[in-house]
């Protein structure tokens, strides 16, 4: 068994202020296994977790446990997914130690001035099984568990909801819009996925509930119940006959307004978006042209950015319990 400890500082952290793409996708975290990519997921459930018995100003350890419990419950309540977790107890141990226990707690990381929280795994890279996962919340920030939020304090439940998505095996979604700030940073102005890599400003509690993109992602990882009644769209993105890697493809359901996306993930530009409601969908795609690609892919990954956002000129019908059949999306250079 090959064990790999990965401090997923970029893939699995929720950053407060950093470059990020205005794009749409849920993404599963993958591990390379002999040239094949396997999705990370828990094979043994329920996942038992511990909470570090230490609070910070404004958030006691029991407050922390309760907020984290609400966030876990949000993922467990997804009817089309089977997510099973169990609070074990408080512990004196801090998160991030490799100790065969899953620990959530505060840690001070002044060196990570843009990182609100991060998730850290121990995985079997051959099977993709997650063996251990810890989440640390950076105590250098001000935190809140107030029901309506507090000014200048980050909402713990919101950030926990995001990190638990990572703990479950989800990567970042790019379903959001950002703008460049005067200091060269990037500020999120809108998003439609808890798994978007940049948090709303301190005090905001509008991301306490999962969106369609999050639900599709977790259901794709741990399918259950109604997931068999959903369908998928698959195909490839081509530019001048060549596959486009890293294009953001989003499926919009005009009956309920839901947005679910994914990325083209190989050199042939192939993609698949699962967990979609049966019926016609609008397909839109755009490049990660103002993104920090490392929020989504490993360092050094070459992503094709040189094409224009476009719509597919056909409505794509998602069948119940099946796939639309491969579609070909053509893009043109900017």
């Amino acid at each position: 068994m090959i064990l790999r400890r990965a401090l997923a500082g970029l893939l699995a952290a929720w950053i407060a202020w950093a470059p990020a793409p205005p794009a749409e996708a849920y993404l599963k975290i993958g591990a390379d296994s002999g040239g094949q990519t396997v999705a990370l997921s828990w094979k043994q459930t329920p996942v038992r977790y511990f909470v570090t018995d230490a609070g910070v100003e404004g958030v006691s350890a029991p407050d922390f446990r309760d907020a984290v419990g609400r966030a876990f419950r949000a993922w467990q309540d997804v009817s089309s997914a089977k997510v099973s977790v169990e609070f074990a107890s408080f512990t004196e141990a801090p998160p991030l130690d490799e100790d065969n226990t899953n620990i959530l707690g505060f840690l001070a990381h002044p060196d990570m001035e843009c990182t609100l929280a991060a998730t850290n795994y121990v995985v079997d890279t051959r099977s993709g099984e997650i063996l251990e996962a810890d989440i640390f919340f950076n105590s250098m920030f001000q935190w809140s568990v107030a029901p309506s939020g507090e000014p200048n304090r980050y909402d713990l439940e919101t950030v926990a909801l995001h990190e638990i998505g990572h703990l479950s095996g989800l990567g970042h979604s790019a379903l959001g819009e950002t703008e460049i700030t005067p200091d060269g940073g990037r500020r999120v102005i809108a998003s439609e996925a808890v798994m978007f890599p940049i948090a709303f400003a301190a005090g905001n509690v509008s991301a306490r509930s999962l969106r369609a993109d999050d639900v599709a992602g977790i259901s794709d990882l741990y399918p259950d119940g109604a997931f068999s009644q959903t369908g998928s769209v698959s195909g490839q993105v081509l530019r001048n006959g060549q596959g486009v890697f890293g294009a953001h493809i989003v499926a919009f359901d005009p009956t309920d307004g839901s947005l679910v996306g994914n990325l083209s993930l190989d050199d042939r530009g192939r993609f698949s978006i699962a967990g979609l409601s049966p019926g016609p969908h609008v397909i839109r795609l755009e490049p990660l042209d103002d993104a920090d690609v490392t929020s989504f892919f490993s360092e050094g990954t070459q992503v094709d950015l040189d094409f224009r956002a476009t719509f597919f000129d056909r409505l794509v019908v998602v069948p119940r319990g099946g796939d639309s059949g491969s579609i070909t999306l053509q893009v043109v250079g900017k």
């Binding site: 819009e177 005009p254 947005l259 000129d313 019908v317 639309s324």
Partner: protein, 230 residues
């Protein structure tokens, strides 16, 4: 004496002149009994089936528009068949089926990343099976060559998306009127009693998942059929 032949002729002429209306009354009342079969074409008008923006949650809880959509189920020409039979002297029960293939089109515009506005579409194969009642309006005016009626009914709507990838069922209701114009009308003792053209104009209410806004929508429908009555 000299006047009697004229009188006889006058009687004969009178009888002949009266024979027409008497025969017509028999044909339109009696000939229109029995079983009617009709087949023809139907045109269904287009209908808007919903507008919706693709939105993201803004930082202030507002909705940020990514792009806008507006959908329409297009007009289509198809065909229909119908069977009818009198249940009273003026009311006829009918069963009909129709086929049409409208285009479902969604117009896309206002993209936040300046994606060019376009229209995305797919073809829908639509079948209906309906039952209804037809009420004759001019039963007491047998000399008329145009026989108006009103109709009302409802039934089952089945719509298949492009490539038969998904079936969606719904309901259809209609109300309207029309007229039969017989070319041939014969007595009730004849096997083939009546042949003619039938025109129907209806308000068609359809409700199904193809209506992307989940609402029921009314569109006009016009049908022209050739009918035969046995």
């Amino acid at each position: 004496m000299r006047g009697r032949p004229w009188g006889a002729i006058g009687v004969i002429v009178t009888c002949c002149l009266q024979a027409g209306p008497v025969w017509a009354q028999r044909s339109n009342d009696e000939a229109s009994q029995g079983l009617e079969l009709s087949a023809g074409t139907v045109w269904i008008g287009k209908v808007a089936v919903g507008t919706r923006d693709a939105t993201l949650t803004g930082s202030g809880g507002n909705r940020f528009r990514l792009f806008s959509t507006s959908s329409e189920l297009g007009g289509a020409t198809g065909f229909n068949v119908r069977v009818g039979r009198h249940v009273t002297s003026i009311i006829e029960a009918e069963v009909s089926a129709s086929y049409a293939s409208p285009l479902l089109t969604t117009s896309l515009s206002g993209d936040a990343e300046a994606a060019p506005a376009t229209a995305a579409s797919e073809s829908i194969t639509q079948f209906t099976i309906e039952g209804g009642a037809l009420v004759h309006l001019m039963r007491g005016r047998p000399q008329s060559r145009v026989l108006p009626f009103v109709t009302v009914g409802g039934g089952y709507l089945r719509q298949l998306h492009e490539g038969d990838t998904l079936v969606q069922a719904g309901k259809v209701f209609y109300a309207g009127g029309g007229a039969r114009i017989p070319f041939v009308s014969r007595g009730a003792d004849k096997r083939l009693r009546q042949v003619g053209v039938r025109i129907d104009l209806r308000a068609l209410l359809r409700s199904s998942s193809v209506m992307l806004d989940g609402e029921s929508h009314v569109s006009p429908a016009l049908a022209a059929s050739l009918f035969v009555r046995f």
